[in-house]
């Protein structure tokens, strides 16, 4: 193998060093994609890890870019990996200080859809968590106002789940003006 082809040994990113030192028991897996560190974290310690990432002076992931979820019910490989967790709640973080991004993924089982809300850490999580609740039915514990945000209040079901039919259960054909205007 010529010298040009040898891959230079990358230093472990700071976030992984610190998480392995302080929250090693919470870490299920980690990866790096396009310069973004991806960590998979146990649900029980998710809030603590996110709080640590935000408040640690060296990491300072102060900006919560997005909260969303993924329904893995049709992805066998992901299902196998984390004990058949159907949903993966995803937090996208950005550190102004380090000018780098991080992605925190939390597996959520179908039989226990509760996950702690991060609205106490980031006010901006309020609507993002409402959207995730609306689309996937993830229940964020401690959220001040967990209502639907996109779909009508009387809507039934969570449309971004893989088992939700594209054309719905007939909501668009049978909605009631009087009920909606009340």
């Amino acid at each position: 193998m010529s010298e040009e082809n040898q891959v230079e040994e990358q230093p472990t990113p700071l976030i992984l060093q610190k998480l392995e030192a302080n929250h090693a028991d919470a870490l299920l897996a980690h990866d790096e994609t396009r310069g973004t560190v991806v960590v998979v974290v146990r649900k029980e310690q998710a809030y603590a890890v996110l709080e640590y990432l935000k408040t640690d002076p060296e990491l300072a992931y102060a900006f919560l870019v997005d909260v969303t979820a993924v329904d893995n019910s049709q992805m066998e490989s992901e299902l196998m990996q984390f004990d058949y967790a159907r949903f993966m709640v995803v937090y996208q973080l950005y550190s102004y200080q380090g000018q780098c991004r991080a992605r925190v993924k939390v597996p959520v089982h179908e039989n226990d859809l509760n996950i702690p809300s991060v609205t106490r850490l980031w006010q901006g999580a309020n609507w993002l968590e409402r959207e995730t609740y609306d689309m996937f039915g993830i229940h964020f514990e401690g959220h001040p106002d967990l209502r639907r945000i996109l779909m009508p209040d009387d809507f039934d079901g969570h449309p971004l789940r893989k088992d939700y039919p594209l054309r719905g259960h007939g909501e668009r054909e049978r909605f009631n003006f009087d009920k909606q205007n009340a």
Binding site: M151, P152, E171, R172, F177
Partner: protein, 170 residues
């Protein structure tokens, strides 16, 4: 246009009288001063803005007075997709417009749902409000919207009732 109306005094006017009916005069006035209520929810609204702006200039046809209050307008232009959450809003705005009122369903989405055959999108606003003129296209060009306004004008001039009135008295 160019309809002169002389009310009375046949002897003095010396052949300058045009006889007509009240309906015709009223319809002539209505057709040349349609005040649109824009209901733009998607890219069709961009074409609607272009229609109103200087290049296409809808004021050539007397319809440049866009009213953002439904209570002051008589032409509803539904331009864009309408979701099941938006439909009650659209219905309420339609109900707030004073009679007589006309509705243009602009573009594929408003007319039939377009490519969005999904759980949340109304497959044609005519299921819930009466539509007078449909415009095909995705999005339609400003000329198409002008053509639709002219078709509404023809309808008014012909003395035909708006679809909404027909629906009430059927």
């Amino acid at each position: 246009m160019g309809l002169d109306f002389v009310g009375q005094g046949a002897a003095e006017t010396d052949g300058n009288i045009i006889t007509t009916t009240i309906d015709k005069v009223v319809n002539w006035g209505r057709k040349n001063s349609l005040w649109p209520m824009p209901f733009g929810t998607a890219c069709c609204a961009i074409e609607m803005m272009a229609t109103l702006a200087s290049k296409f200039d809808l004021s050539r046809f007397g319809s440049e007075a866009i009213r953002f209050s439904p209570r002051q307008s008589d032409l509803l232009i539904v331009s864009g997709r309408i979701s099941i959450k938006m439909m009650p809003v659209l219905k309420r705005i339609y109900d707030q417009m004073p009679d007589p009122k006309w509705v243009i369903s602009m573009g594929a989405c408003a007319s039939c749902g377009g490519v969005f055959d999904t759980y949340t999108l109304i497959q044609g606003v005519d299921q819930f409000i009466p539509v007078d003129v449909y415009i095909p296209g995705c999005p339609p060009r400003p000329e198409d919207l002008i053509d639709a306004v002219l078709q509404v004008q023809q309808k008014i001039a012909s003395g035909a009732s708006p679809k909404g009135v027909e629906a009430v008295y059927e």
